[in-house]
Assembly symmetry: D2
Homo-oligomer: 128 residues x 4
């Protein structure tokens, strides 16, 4: 507590409303599967893949944090309105340029002001 909602494959979820609920809250990591040590490596995190989240004043995605295993690497904070504002929907997205020195396991957390913390699937990056 607080609950960490871990992403589960929505293709195995039956109800459409639940697929939408899980997908629109979950951060998805997009990056290459391998990186060169010491060079800037771009990691994009987008909240929602097939569905969009409201950007209402009282219900929006306010932060996206990037972890490498247990260590926080970077975190982006968004204000209500960044995705169009009241009655609009969007997919909050941020790209961080980071330097990895050895094999990494990236995980992202997104925070919804109404539905709490959501965790991505882990993403392994081979570093050479």
């Amino acid at each position: 507590m607080p609950k960490i909602n871990v992403y589960t494959d929505i293709s195995e979820v039956e109800r459409e409303a639940k697929k939408d609920y899980i997908d629109r809250h979950s951060p998805f990591i997009h990056c290459e599967p391998s990186a060169k040590a010491g060079e800037t490596f771009e990691v994009t995190v987008q909240v929602g893949a097939d569905y969009q989240h409201p950007d209402d004043m009282d219900h929006y995605i306010s932060s996206v944090a990037l972890y490498n295993k247990d260590t926080k690497v970077a975190e982006a904070t968004f204000f209500a309105g960044s995705q169009g504002g009241q009655d609009k929907k969007g997919n909050t997205r941020v790209s961080f340029g980071v330097v990895l020195e050895k094999d990494a396991t990236l995980v992202a957390h997104a925070y919804c002001t109404k539905h709490g913390v959501w965790e991505s699937l882990p993403e392994a990056v081979a570093v050479a």
Copy 2:
């Protein structure tokens, strides 16, 4: 993943080093057990009770977040040096003035730049 280290009563831990490790990383919530709805209520979070945490440049407590159940209420960020700096130790402490409208269950997270996320015991507040 990332691991959420949940506080466990150190009086039941045998090894001194482990007591120290758990205590100095754990956020402890200090507040009255009841609050008046609509009035400012002070919630203090201190990291560590009987032990202190290093404030080294590469190893310090960088944030303390306060949740009411799954909802983040406030978060404080500290920079290395706020507790005396390299080779010093301290107990990072912050007090938030918050207004509660109904019964609350407060939980705090502390983040150590080397040892990740630590969670306090929950603290129930009756609001009338």
Copy 3:
């Protein structure tokens, strides 16, 4: 740009609405005038002294940062609702425990989601 609104003594402001506007947005630092080097020193920052600021979803105080001269020491982030929520008003308040090693000049910034950055008067702390 962005504009940094620096506090000006409202006793010299004539219009009541303007007094209110300046006061309710300005962070005020409350602390002792002197501190002991190496010991925890409590610095409280309250936004507004004689007037209160709305805590509406689209108009609230979302952060309070504490600087020592040009260096950020700590920052607290608040979510809409922390001061009672829609149609309520309050004085956002946070206390940081910090360790000072030499004479300090503290300054606070508050950020209002509608009216931007506001700066306190500087507060000198003699450290011995």
Copy 4:
């Protein structure tokens, strides 16, 4: 106070050390000059253009904030080590996906843990 260091064209600066100092601390905004209302628009902020900033534990770029005039749109926080760590240098970079509804004037702030706040040149975006 704290000082906001506003970028000045380094081609008009004579001393190499000063060019380096200004450039490596300054955030540079990279985006298209126009955006479509209601659509996600990517804004990249990179700290430093021709020079790189250290990523030392006690001296690194810890945040990059994006403003539209006086309003904060998003902010990214980085931890020491994100650009390679002690004795390495880099250009902290973050891209935010934001939705603009009308003509915007973007400005970025970068914060260096040793040399404070640095402000970019403003970047006008025509929104249609």
